[in-house]
Amino acid sequence: MKILVTVKRVEDYESKIKVKPDNTWIVTEGVNYRANPFDEIAVEEALRLRDANMPSEVVAVSIGSGTAQAEIRSALAMGADRGILVKHDGFLDSDAVARILVKVVEKEKPDLILMGKQAVDVDDNVCGQLLAEYLGYGQATFASKKESLESAEEKAKKPGLKLGADKKTMQVVREVDGGVETLELQLPAVVTVDLRLNIPRYASLPNIMKAKKKPIEEIAPGVDVSPKVKVVKVEAPPARAAGVKVPDVATLVQKLHDEAKVV
């Protein structure tokens, strides 16, 4: 099985995010970068699926400037077999990203495309769905599993996505409003992953060394990348006025009743 997995370079969620004074973007100086946490979950799942269904291959793709090499390397250090960097400097909207990925899919012909459900920079949550529609594939968004992240299945690093015996279908459990749904997808398909699918592994030192020798191919976008959605202004969110500390439960209830009038 061939699995294509996407890794986006994003601001580290532990970094302090500040809006630029000219309101064009956020301040990027002094901010750490890393792979989108949802994409790391996608990489982990790809590796588990590969190892449970040999022979298989995991190809990690990132779209961005040269610096995105780092995120591809970290996917390779986790265990992905090779990388593709689609080189582009500057902003791309999710639609352009999806159309670039169509080109990559046409070239690589993977059986499965695994992506994070959203990138934690623009928090869009649309790219996987756009890609699935452009390709005419089925999709399962918000992929999860029934077992908890503290279960024996997780400790044994079992894949949460279940490949059918004929290797032509895949069962996916999804987190939806009001419960959990199970779908069967005809492969090839697009799956976007949610938080509860797995706990991604850390790359070991020997694997980090090995990753340095794995190939990363650089290609051009190959599509018109003019955005359908432009960012015209970025502002700081409205601040919440600081509240007060109350000494005890009785005071809390009295304030909620008399002042806030909510109980």
Partner: protein, 312 residues
Amino acid sequence: MATILVVGEQAHGQLKKATLNALTAAQQLAQKNGGQIHGVVVGGAGEELAQFVQNVHFVQNAQFEHALAETHAAAVAEAAKKIGATDVVIAATAYGKDIAPRVAAKLGAGIASDVLAVVSANQFKRAMWAGNAIATVEVTTPVKVITVRTTEFPVAQKAGSPGQAQQLEVAAPQAKTKFLEFNEVKSARPELTEASVVVSGGRGTKGDFKPIEQLADVLGAAVGASRAVVDAGWQPNDLQVGQTGKVVAPKLYIAAGISGAIQHLAGMKGSKTIVAINKDPEAPIFQVADYGLVADLFKALPELSEEVKKLK
């Protein structure tokens, strides 16, 4: 002139309330672009939607029984083409997020997701970086698709006189996806995104949600949770509040044993009154709380339940 299509969401043939939040966003958009509003709903609830919208198109046949993104997006796109829609508006629920991008791709439309405000006919506000920034985005395509954050738009009112619901004949595409099962999480409590009071627990509960649930029942509240709780399997996924879970904005939000990570705050900062109960006086949750109580939740919550009962 603009033609706006608001997409209804239904479960078991009943319209979901989120549709009415999306309708308000559609009405605001109509004020900006002088548009007319149509409705579409796939799977049932056409008559119900027509209580609110004059022209409703509904798609109802067995092929659309399950909300598969491929088939439902195809039906919505068909309706959009039929009426010549310039804008498609959907609530940013799990269903809306699943289908809206596919609708956009079918219509060659740009999509703005999880919209917080309608700025103009083609500009919208949305949160980025876990709510650390609010962006104004411009959709440059002639047809636009937006999904809207339900907590930012009030529920629309019924129209003076009911509209018309007409069946739309659409052939479902051959889906490459098959529905297998749905495990519903049943709860007698109000739905998290619709409740006017939410009591949420974090890792500080150590998995014991009894004090949270007791207080929730006294207040008629919904129960919420932090990611830590859901990851541990202590509470169902559906209850996660935050950047990557549900966004809530109740009248009263009580956070107990939750530290207040930015990702959690992104899902509840819009609440009217926030109460934090945490035994660590330095916990970041206190920075957004209107009322903070430094206490052990296992002591404070039962007391709180008792005090509130006395008021009632």
